[in-house]
């Protein structure tokens, strides 16, 4: 694609590749708006963001993006059904209490959801817990127990089981360890995971 997409974050790279040109995208917890800015400029996506932090919103406005301040745990009721092709929930699922409720909401307003989260069962975390007897700190879980924004601690295995129980179809999954993609034993070897989910019942009604 050229220079702009070469040096982007590995997780953004995966998401960027999954989104089709011209798609309608909502990014929950969009931060400085780097991902939706890229999707907008390089994929002609129609993008919107929700973000809590005032400074991050300023950064989005500087990029010309439309971003609304809001708490993503309560912020989707006003969106009509299926008004987005993709809803992105990248690196924020683990910070959400009502994760199941939010994912159902997200799959109501979007045809597909892209969920990215840190893997709590990475070998580094297991070693730290088993041999060190300490709450794990890894590159994808960098916080200490008392300053972490995370309230949910899940593994790739947990998430797969959760999707099965909830009836979410896993269309794609990518597992990352830094810049590298992990294929074998992701639940042990990947620091983070990105899933593309949909509701099987929705496939016929998609616009």
């Amino acid at each position: 694609m050229g220079t702009i997409v070469d040096d982007i974050r590995p997780d953004h790279r995966v998401i960027f590749d999954w989104v089709e040109p011209g798609a309608r995208v909502l990014d929950l917890g969009c931060g400085d708006g780097n991902l939706i800015d890229l999707l907008s400029r390089e994929k002609d996506a129609r993008v919107q963001g929700i973000e809590f932090d005032e400074k991050a919103i300023c950064e989005c406005v500087k990029k010309g993006l439309s971003v609304c301040q809001g708490d993503i745990e309560t912020g989707l009721a006003e969106y009509p059904d299926h008004c987005f092709d993709y809803v992105i929930l990248n690196q924020s699922l683990q910070e959400i209490r009502k994760a199941a409720f939010l994912l159902r909401e997200v799959l109501r307003v979007g045809n597909r959801v892209i969920v990215g989260f840190p893997n709590f069962a990475h070998i580094g975390a297991r070693v730290s817990l088993f041999f060190g007897g300490r709450a794990p700190i890894t590159p994808s879980l960098p916080h200490r127990w008392y300053d972490t924004p995370n309230v949910r601690f899940l593994s790739i295995g947990d998430f797969r089981k959760f999707c099965m129980e909830m009836g979410f179809a896993v269309e794609k999954a990518a597992f990352l360890n830094g810049r590298k993609t992990v294929t074998f034993w992701p639940n042990l070897r990947a620091l983070s995971a990105i899933f593309l989910l949909s509701l099987p019942a929705d496939r016929g009604t998609r616009r």
Partner: protein, 391 residues
Amino acid sequence: MKVELKTETAEPEGPPRALGIVETKEFSFAGPLTLESGETLGPVTLAYETYGTLNDEKSNAILVLHALSGDAHAAGFHEGEKDPGWWDAMIGPGKPFDTDRYFVICSNVVGGCKGSTGPSSMNPKTGKPYGTDFPFITIGDMVQAQRHMIDFLEIERLLCVAGGSMGGMQALQWVASYPERVRSAIPIASALKHSPQQIAFNEVIRQSIMADPAWRGGDYYGTGQPEKGLSVARMIGHITFMSEQSMEEKFSRRLKNDRLGFDFGADFEVEGYLRYRGANFVKRFDANSYLYITKAMDYFDLSGGRLIAGTGADTRFLVLSFQSDWLYPSHQSQEIVRLLKRKQVNATYCELKSTWGHDAFLVELEGQTTLIRHFLERTYLGKENGNGNHR
């Protein structure tokens, strides 16, 4: 490959320069305006000021709209006066409404008393001031009159309409009435409709004016303003403009004379402040205008499908509210944003941290300054992002 967007910078060069001396102009037209009440009003005069230069394409015009007791003097200085216009912090060379780049217009409202046709103006039918013969006006009527002025200035499409409080209502009304003539809107500390609490405050304000015997059913132009009633009305207003915290910081329980007077004089600084504000206000504002304009605000309601009729509207919005504003609380701005989202209109919303209460929009606030500056620049350069408009 698309062009990189990061080359322009929005930061002003050096410290902001001053606008200098400005003058209020008048625009008159015969009309008559057909008002929402069904009555007509004509001829109509609107007071306005302009700052900066209209470009050849007439694509850089911004209409700024004032709050309840404001006027057309938004920025710069009037000859011989020491205080600048009410939004001088925001309008001028290098400021967010950058007059080096944009042509900024500030319009007064019909029903007012600051150079525009209102209850204190001469009724052509009687040769005397209208008083309560003045027809009831709405925010929609104010905007209709302003549209005549924008037509006169030969501006087909405004780059932006912006304002705080009642100015925000006018901005929203512009989008509702003339969506094709507004590229973007910035309603600040405003609402889609007046709440019962807001109507209640306005009703107490009106009753305090009308309870003054000097009001004389609105026919006081030969005998003098209902000063007591109007000043109490303004005191009520000032309480609602501040937050509990800003009052604590400004006055606490400090005494004016270091001891309690044991009489009904102004013991506390806050009492002295309100009395001073009330007494000052009667010198500069017409009581009947206060009645008519508060009524127009109470009638304001763009809920339902009235703000955005269909879908596919391409006006961009920047909606701002302030944390300590309890007169126009953030949830009212969020209601605007929810409606825009339902209509799939491009909207940015931010609640800014401030302890200033409703007054915050008049104060120079970093968040407000930065957001407005960048929002306007992106809209002006056509570099709004995320509309799928790169195709």
